[in-house]
Amino acid sequence: MKRLKTLCGAVALASTVALTACGGSGTGSGVAQSGGDLVMARADEATSLLPSVPTDNASIWVIEEIYDTLTVPDQSGKSVQPSLATSWTQSPDKLSWTFHLRKDAKFTNGKAVTSADVKFSIEQNQKSDAPFSFIDTVITKIDTPDAATVVFHTKKPWSPLPADMALYANSIVPADYGGKSATEFAKHPVGSGPFKFASWSKGSSLKIVKNAKYWRKGLPHLDSVTFTTVPDSNTRATQLASNQIQINEYPSNSSIKTLKAQPNLTVNMFPSSEIDYLSMNVRRAPFDDVNVRKAISLAIDKKAILQAVYYGHGTLAGGFLSPTTWAHNASIKPVPHDVAAAKAALAKSSHPHGFTTTIMVGSGSQDSSSEAQLVQGDLAKIGIKVKIKTLDPSAESTAKHAGNYDMAFGLYTTDIVDPDEIARFAGTYDGGSNTLYSGYKNSKMDALAATASSSSQQSERKAAYDKMQQIIADNVPYIPLFYVPGIYSYGKVKGFHPAATGNYFLEKVQLTK
């Protein structure tokens, strides 16, 4: 899911400043209670609750509470479990998937969830202007033989389909939006999820209440959840300390130490699929020379950057598929920091004595700016002079997609638990990003990705993904820098455990006394 490093340095301004002021207030024994209103503060406000529209986390994580999907990711983010669908099977010719729906699920408008609703919902996300339509393009036709059965026909054998069905954009809405226009429906969304949309006062808060007729009996525990928009991470921290809010999304890196020192707050780092990377434009000289790219990779002191910028919160990255997926290749180790080896690699290249180049950084993020300056210092030691070029995030993304840069930072996360999405996005030229904007083209990568998605043999799939990671590691079109955890601080709360894909599963959360 999309997670932007917040632009406004200004917003972060007040942020850390007040941390020192928030003393912990006494919490009790931590006994779980039923009911109650959970308040969760986040930096950004949701933009839309129509599943096929938004790409921002603030919207996605509310959508996941209001709607159900056919399948859901499990906690580890490695596989999917039944949700609206109780079981699914691939046809013998592997060109279709049949999903059997549960019969006791009802939308909050009282109507049962049927195959017609599923067909309508998936078709919304197939429309060309939907950001995640690329996930569903493999589906050629949707059949509904009866109210409880859906058949997806696919262009080619497609084993990631059950995982694709867990994507928020494939959430199930009532057919024809219950007779309303999409715009009208978005104002009063109706789903079958654990919570029901209650109200949205734009600019300040969004409230969802318990769906009493939720098909998972006994859930949710909470009466309601209120999402407040508090851009300032400092204010969020203060509010958490005074129990005005119970969960604080994304405390800033530099504040974690201070937060941890407070007795009644928990700061937890959940495994996430986020990977930070440094991409090189192999379409341009001298980055077309693999020795140059290897030299850069060896010259960067990743450990020092992790420490100085992330205060050590994260791990050095090896393979480009995150350890949160089963496809992660653990045999690929992070490239060591070795100036002598870097110089040797550069000596073998077309530019043995170095060159001058640029690195693109999104404006407003102090962290990116610091990272760039450290990389600049590291590369200067092997004779590569780097100029930092700052662009605002929108222009930066345009430049990346157009391949109009030399080196650039970025991060990616996966939206579905199957490695297929991210392996294509970050590993293939035609997967949406031209191999993470590097322009690296290798037909072997496409073939491997195709093998992996069509095979239903787990071991065969794993072997293909392992090879893909090895190819990237050998050719270095980009350098995976860090595996970054999802950081949350929270107070009187039990059962909060976001999945690696980000899902909150708030139906399992309880307030404590």
Binding site: V11, T47, D129, D415
Partner: protein, 311 residues
């Protein structure tokens, strides 16, 4: 009077048109793509193209410009592609916040400036005057965001009198939350105001009228309040009038710093997400605000100073 007013309104039209035109072309020429920004990194190029078509961004720029003007003439500000909402309704939520902030900072500007100016006008050679002079230069030199940060640090955190940013739901909390940002903006204007007021007061004290009043034995108090301050008030109003642009501009940066959900933070969001219609609407409203205040200032000026004729 009516003719004067009508003429002023007519003259405002090219100004507003200019503001609208500049913001239109500035946004459309800036690198960055609203559709890509809205759809995120992973969306396929086909999706981006489909959305660009849906938003009419695949039309030629002159055509888009004409369509925009047409729409504007019909009083339609358009739809924000970031907030997925009509801009008029967004404006209705955000504009009042900014106006309150600007008005509050104007009041604070006067509350701070009048005593400082009057002290340094009445005792021009005293230590106090030197202190005011120094204060003025220091405040003028310190960037607004820095003043904001220091106010947060000291009044919001060390001595936690005010909230360190944010905008609570209740009215009282909101009023309280606006004090520090308003003070920050005000401090940006105070140096100019103090300088202007002080000059005007010294001017008045040296005038024949005051000399005459003194020679007749009138006590200092009525002279100060009845004549000097009244005269200074005229310059105060005119300076405030000119500074309203600066105040509004200051609100823009400061709303970000203090996380106040006004026009400024909305405009910033709009710029970053290349929400063209939203940015254009915001600059238009800012422009109108400034034009209206200038008009108001001239009217006030005419009321306060009978010598000023509205021709």
């Amino acid at each position: 009077m009516l003719r004067w007013f009508a003429r002023r309104l007519l003259l405002a039209i090219p100004v507003v048109w200019g503001v609208v035109t500049i913001s239109f072309f500035m946004m459309h020429l800036a690198p960055g793509d609203p559709a890509r920004t809205a759809l995120g990194e992973k969306a396929s190029n086909a999706s981006v193209a489909a959305l660009r078509h849906q938003w009419g961004l695949d039309q030629s720029m002159p055509l888009q410009y004409l369509n925009y003007l047409k729409q504007l003439v019909h009083g339609d500000l358009g739809t924000s592609v970031y907030y997925h909402a009509p801009i008029t309704s967004l404006m209705a939520q955000r504009l009042p916040v900014t106006i309150i902030l600007v008005v509050l900072s104007a009041i604070l500007t006067m509350l701070i400036s009048v005593p400082l100016a009057s002290r340094s006008a009445t005792h021009p050679n005293g230590i106090a005057a030197v202190a005011v002079r120094l204060f003025n230069a220091v405040v003028q030199g310190a960037p607004t965001f820095f003043i904001g940060a220091m106010l947060i640090l000291f009044l919001g955190v060390r001595i936690a009198i005010f909230p360190a940013g944010g905008y609570p739901a209740d009215i009282g909390g909101r009023a309280w939350a606006l004090v520090l940002p308003a003070l920050t903006i005000a401090l940006g204007t105070v140096p100019i105001m103090v300088r202007g007021l002080r000059a005007a007061m010294i001017e008045s004290y040296g005038s024949e009228y005051v000399a005459f009043a003194r020679s007749k034995g009138l006590p200092e108090r009525p002279i100060r309040y009845g004549y000097v301050l009244r005269n200074a008030g005229i310059s105060g109003v005119s300076i405030l009038g000119i500074q309203v642009g600066a105040l509004a501009s200051g609100a823009l940066v400061i709303e970000q710093v203090f996380a106040i959900p006004g026009m400024g933070s909305m405009l910033m969001t709009g710029i970053l997400n290349r929400d063209y219609a939203l940015v254009q609407a915001c600059t238009l409203v800012f422009g109108l605000l400034v034009v209206v205040v200038y008009l108001g200032t001239d009217l006030a000026y005419a009321r306060l100073d009978p010598r000023a004729r509205l021709s």
